[in-house]
């Protein structure tokens, strides 16, 4: 089964990528473009959270804090709020740097915590960020309070400003592609192995010489910088940011994307983002029943696929440690009977 999966993996991924590129040509519908652009945006966020939760196994319930910080920093840099109008290409790295630093600042006090305590502390940071965003309009107006920051510049490249949803779509798709590539390379890198070692057994990882403090901080910083990308995309697309974009429910939604698809599996995380964004849209005709059906679907999906939609691809974590993968790769019939 896995060998079959291996053989078809490249063509499958390739055709998926081509399909994504062709969507604006095949379905030139502004609404559909908008929904798919949102899926891309949330997929970037979900990939970022996946680094913290899926790779390093640190349950973060306040991921929306980084999303909010990213959006607001972008808004500060490219709106009349402070009179700054940096181009997207310049603002994006600054935002990524700022969110990565905020990730380290929030991650540092939580290093001793694990599991549910870590979850509640990150949740607390998320709430504190929201309260700050909504209240920092007095005595000095920084965040604009509940009415947020408006008239944010659209992303422009060499004087060409993005306006239509399909143009945004390609920008979002590009950044999603980069985020996916970065996730993949990180997962297979030395630091990615360190994260997965911490996820499986922190004590053992430490004994094997992994600097767990540094690795965890790196996970937080890396996850947060993805949220910085997502935040810049949201702010420049919406042309405005409000504190209510960054409620706790948003953290929950992003976490649901990571877990629903199948933690740690990159394509599954993107699938999760697509499901969570698209489901309420599908039920949009039943306006009132939309969230009702969404809640029900989450429960039903979890009952029938408790480890995520694509869990059949994910190997159970314990087996990963055994040399099964190498044996399966050899055309030795004895290996399978072992």
């Amino acid at each position: 089964m896995r060998e079959l999966g291996q053989r078809w993996r490249r063509p499958f991924h390739g055709s998926l990528a081509v399909l994504c590129l062709l969507i604006p040509v095949v379905v030139p519908n502004d609404y559909v473009m908008g929904v798919i652009a949102r899926i891309c945006l949330y997929a970037v966020l979900a990939l970022g959270l996946n680094i913290v939760v899926g790779f390093a196994g640190l349950l973060d319930l306040g991921y929306v804090a980084f999303f909010g910080i990213g959006s607001y920093v972008y808004a500060f840099l490219a709106s009349p709020q402070f009179g700054l109008h940096l181009p997207f290409i310049v603002a994006l790295p600054i935002v990524i740097l700022a969110t990565a630093i905020s990730g380290i600042l929030i991650g540092a006090p939580t290093l001793r915590l694990r599991g549910d305590y870590l979850a509640i502390v990150t949740l607390g940071f998320g709430e504190i960020t929201y309260i700050m965003l909504i209240n920092l309009d007095r005595p000095i107006n920084i965040t604009g309070g509940p009415s947020g920051i408006i008239r944010i510049d659209p992303p422009s490249f060499l004087g060409f400003a993005l306006e239509r949803n399909d143009q945004y779509y390609y920008l979002f798709l590009l950044l999603l592609g980069l985020a996916l590539l970065a996730s993949k390379r990180l997962r297979d890198s030395r630091i990615g192995w360190a994260w997965q070692a911490i996820r499986e057994d922190e004590l053992a990882a430490q004994a094997m010489g992994v600097n767990t403090t540094r690795a965890k901080l790196q996970a937080f910083a890396m996850g947060a910088s993805f949220a910085g990308i997502g935040g810049s995309l949201l702010a420049s697309w919406q042309r405005s940011v409000f504190p209510d974009n960054f409620l706790f429910t948003e953290s929950v939604n992003i976490l649901a994307m990571v877990i629903l698809g199948g933690m740690g599996n990159l394509l599954a995380v993107i699938l999760g983002a697509a499901v969570i964004v698209a489901l309420p849209e599908i039920f949009r005709d039943f306006q009132l029943y939309r969230l009702f059906a969404f809640g029900l679907m989450l429960m039903v999906l979890m009952i029938f696929r408790p480890n995520g939609l694509m869990s059949f691809e994910a190997k159970p974590p314990r087996e990963e440690a055994e040399p099964q993968g190498e044996l399966a790769a050899e055309p030795d019939p004895g290996a399978s009977s072992r």
Binding site: T110, R112, D116, G124, M263, L291
Partner: protein, 313 residues
């Protein structure tokens, strides 16, 4: 400054009342965590449903005009159906949304998502059946506004005393249940080690179901009390109350029943002091900051023990 000193005791009374209610809701989180090691995210919404049940009974009693509106009569009449209904919802959640996941061998995070789904589902069921607008409880009909008196210069209403009294009795009752009865011993056994408890003849899933029922019933009772106190309820009220109560449970040490009560009290007092002394807008930020500080210096919560690795997410 003299102003501040004079309202401080008053604020403390509010804080303690609020804290007792937080503690009551927190018990539901902590009990479920004790036996299943999962965060029951839908617990805040069970609390909200309790509040709606209490509201419905109060409206019915006032409309029926067949009995005198006496708190001794009306309050139990509101609490009992609310607790029962909340308990049944808790049972249903456990049976439909959580147990199947455990039986199918989900990881620790699967039930979390299922609970989030259940929370959204419950909120929207109430919104669809009762409407999105807030409901108002005619508390003044049960506890007239002039039922208040001064103790040592602090003005206390009878309602506050009743709320604190009921919450206190329930916590005491639960503590007795867990510490002194056979059922309580089974609960503690399941919390200690599910498999060993099963080997020793404990009906593990029966105990888990009972735990859900009791915890949810306490949440429903808290819903009635909060409804009476604030006189306004809406379908989204479970969110922030649940968040606070969960914070209280972690603050005290999750899985620890006395810790939940202590955490609730501390949180209530911190909140009321923060809104008097600093700024009401930042009161939630301050209570979360206190939580973070406590956990950084005492990572297991105030009364919590260090959990073994397998009990953590």
């Amino acid at each position: 400054m003299a102003d501040l000193l004079s309202i401080l005791p008053q604020q403390l009374v509010f804080g303690v009342t609020l804290g007792m209610v937080y503690g009551l809701i927190a018990l539901g989180y902590t009990m479920v965590y004790g036996v299943l090691f999962m965060i029951n995210f839908a617990h805040g919404d069970v609390f909200m449903i309790g509040a709606y049940m209490g509201w419905a009974v109060l409206v019915a009693v006032i409309d029926a005009k067949v009995m005198p509106i006496n708190p001794l009569l009306v309050v139990p009449l509101m609490m009992l159906p609310a607790m029962l209904f909340a308990g049944v919802i808790g049972l249903g959640l456990e049976r439909l949304a959580y147990r199947p996941l455990y039986l199918r061998g989900a990881t620790r995070l699967g039930p979390l998502i299922s609970a989030i789904g259940a929370s959204i589902f419950l909120q929207n069921s109430v919104m669809l059946t009762e409407g999105a607008r807030m409901k108002v409880l005619a508390t003044y009909r049960v506890f007239p506004r002039d039922w208040r008196f001064d103790i040592l210069g602090v003005n206390v209403s009878v309602l506050v005393l009743v709320i604190a009294g009921i919450a206190g009795i329930m916590m005491w009752g639960l503590n007795a249940l867990v510490q002194r009865t056979t059922l309580g011993r089974s609960m503690r056994a399941v919390a200690e080690d599910r498999e060993i408890a099963a080997v020793m003849g404990v009906n593990v899933w029966g105990v888990v179901a009972t735990t859900f029922f009791v915890g949810s019933a306490l949440g429903g009772a808290a819903g009635v009390l909060v409804g009476l106190y604030y006189t306004q309820i809406d379908f989204f009220m479970g969110y922030s109350a649940g968040l606070k109560a969960f914070t209280a449970a972690v603050l005290g040490g999750i899985g620890n029943i006395r810790g939940a009560m202590l955490g609730g009290l501390i949180l209530g007092i911190v909140e009321s002091l923060a809104s008097t002394l600093i700024n009401p807008a930042f009161k939630d930020a301050i209570s979360f900051a206190v939580l973070i500080l406590v956990l950084v210096f005492r990572p297991g919560g105030i009364l919590g023990e260090a959990l073994p690795d397998w009990k953590r997410v």
